[in-house]
């Protein structure tokens, strides 16, 4: 792992007067999978939205060394960053193919992208014309990850992808993230509440509590799971 894909330095943000994320320092190395854990309402999704430029940020956000703190979302997305939000993440009335095409800046890269994601999710090439909203919940989540992978991103921001999924699908997605990291050195920042999934797939973790990072470490550390669960328990 060389260099940082993402570097947050004292990042704060929120909605209007309400500060939700406070002075967050965090880095994700190239080729690293980093998981950000926390209970509902702790600022995890807000932090991803802030990185993507949807919310005004204090502090500094760097993407592969470039300052992006005040850049517009579409400009950030064009810097080989793929964002999979937790809610309203697909264009439900568009087809599977149209959802995939929207992720590409180069329309000519569709077939090669499709071949690549087809290896992970064989149902997708077979159902390109199906309306995305008619896929099952698990298939929609897989399409969401597939769309993120279409553009060959250098960094992926994935927001609670495991929510509401059956264990077999979660295991499949974990395998996809590990394989993608191994093959392309893509950095991945996952936001999660599913501790087992998070620890199975990530290299490092941090716990966000009331907008601040209160715990961080390597997932291989002894008692990492116990520490995390302790923070996530009510």
């Amino acid at each position: 792992m060389t260099g940082n894909a993402l570097q947050l330095n004292r990042v704060s943000s929120g909605y209007g007067e309400a500060l939700v994320v406070r002075d967050v320092n965090l880095s994700v190395a190239a080729g690293e999978i980093f998981v950000l854990l926390g209970k509902n309402g702790m600022g995890k999704s807000t932090l991803l939205k802030t990185i993507m430029g949807f919310l005004p940020a204090g502090g500094s956000i760097k993407l592969f060394g470039d300052e992006i703190t005040r850049a517009a979302p579409h400009r950030i997305a064009r810097k080989a960053i793929a964002y999979a939000p937790q809610e309203q993440a697909l264009f439900q009335d568009l087809s599977v193919e149209q959802n995939l095409r929207l992720a590409l800046l180069d329309a000519g890269a569709f077939q090669s992208g499709l071949d690549r994601i087809g290896a992970y999710f064989p149902f997708i090439p077979q159902r390109l014309k199906q309306r995305a909203g008619t896929l099952s919940g698990g298939e929609q989540k897989m399409l969401l990850v597939a769309r993120a992978l279409m553009s060959r991103p250098r960094l992926m921001l994935i927001d609670e992808i495991s929510e509401g999924l059956q264990p077999s699908v979660i295991e499949k997605l974990a395998g996809v993230f590990r394989a993608e990291r191994a093959q392309t050195k893509t950095a991945i920042l996952l936001v999660e509440q599913h501790v087992r999934f998070a620890l199975a797939v990530a290299d490092r973790y941090a716990v966000l509590k009331l907008g601040e990072i209160v715990e961080r470490g390597d997932v291989g550390e002894q008692d990492a799971a116990a520490h995390i669960i302790d923070h996530l328990s009510v």
Partner: protein
């Protein structure tokens, strides 16, 4: 037969008038009350073309081009700074409509003027003698509808535009420059409104308030269309048809109110109007 043709041609005229408004509303979520002003710009563009001695058909591309230029300037200077304040944007476009009317009055005077029709006379169609020009407008509406559908469904920009309509933030997160999509949309909407103004002037006359009577009806038709070109066609046919029937068998004044009243009733009973969902 003539009455059926009246209904079809009225629907076609309404469709041409509403298309630009529908596109702007779909993408930008604002009702462009300057639409009436752009219709007037188109009418005067057609008038200028005929005054310069050009063939009246030139009024169509010229009006479209002038409308697009007006749209570009207005989007950049007036509408764009108000993206985050949609209510203010609506008020601004309303004011713009008034300003456009006043500027035209300054430039061309208040008097009613007439534009030469590109084609004149009637032809026998399905057993009835009917205005050639009104029948041509049916073809124009069909071509316009097909062209817009092809642009929205068959091009990358069209797909991006649909994405912005459905979920602008998600589209931006995928690298789509929604500001550019809005700019192109507003420009196209203004161009289409101006084009519509040029197309309808041979049916009536040109004056600085040309667009005003069309505005409320067009607004209501867009409201019941649910941002769909197909729904708009259905709305124009049904409500425009009702307008023709009320005007013919009732009272022309009541006929003028038909679209507004029926659209309001429809929205009360079925909030999505003619849209599927």
């Amino acid at each position: 037969m003539a009455q059926i043709l009246d209904i079809i041609t009225t629907a076609a005229i309404l469709y041409v008038v509403c298309a630009g408004l529908l596109i702007v509303f779909g993408v930008m979520k604002i009702i462009n009350f300057a639409h009436g002003g752009f219709l007037t710009v188109g009418g005067y563009s057609a008038l200028l073309v005929t005054k310069m001695g050009w063939h009246p058909w030139w009024g169509i591309p010229v009006s479209f081009a002038i409308g697009c230029v007006c749209g570009m300037v207005i989007e950049r200077l007036v509408v764009r700074p108000l993206y985050a304040r949609p209510l203010d944007a609506i008020l601004a476009t309303w004011g713009l409509g008034i300003i456009i009317g006043q500027l035209i009055t300054l430039g061309f005077g208040r008097e009613v003027q007439f534009v030469q029709s590109p084609v004149r006379g009637a032809i026998d169609f399905a057993g009835a003698s009917y205005s050639q020009y009104r029948l041509i407008l049916v073809g124009a509406a069909i071509v316009l509808g097909l062209a817009l559908s092809a642009a929205l469904n068959g091009t990358r920009l069209g797909l991006q535009t649909r994405a912005v309509i459905m979920n602008e933030n998600l589209a931006r997160g995928l690298g789509i420059n929604s500001g550019l999509v809005r700019f192109i949309t507003f420009t196209l909407g203004a161009g289409l409104a101006s084009l519509a103004g040029a197309l309808i002037t041979p049916l009536s006359s040109v004056d600085p308030n040309l667009g005003v009577p069309w505005l409320v009806g067009a607004f209501m038709l867009v409201m019941v269309s649910g941002m769909s070109l197909v729904s708009l066609a259905i709305a124009c046919l049904v409500l425009g048809g009702a307008q023709v029937l009320v005007s013919t068998y009732g009272n022309p004044v009541l006929g003028g109110l038909t679209i507004v009243v029926l659209a309001a009733l429809l929205l009360r009973l079925r909030p999505q109007g003619f849209a599927r969902e």
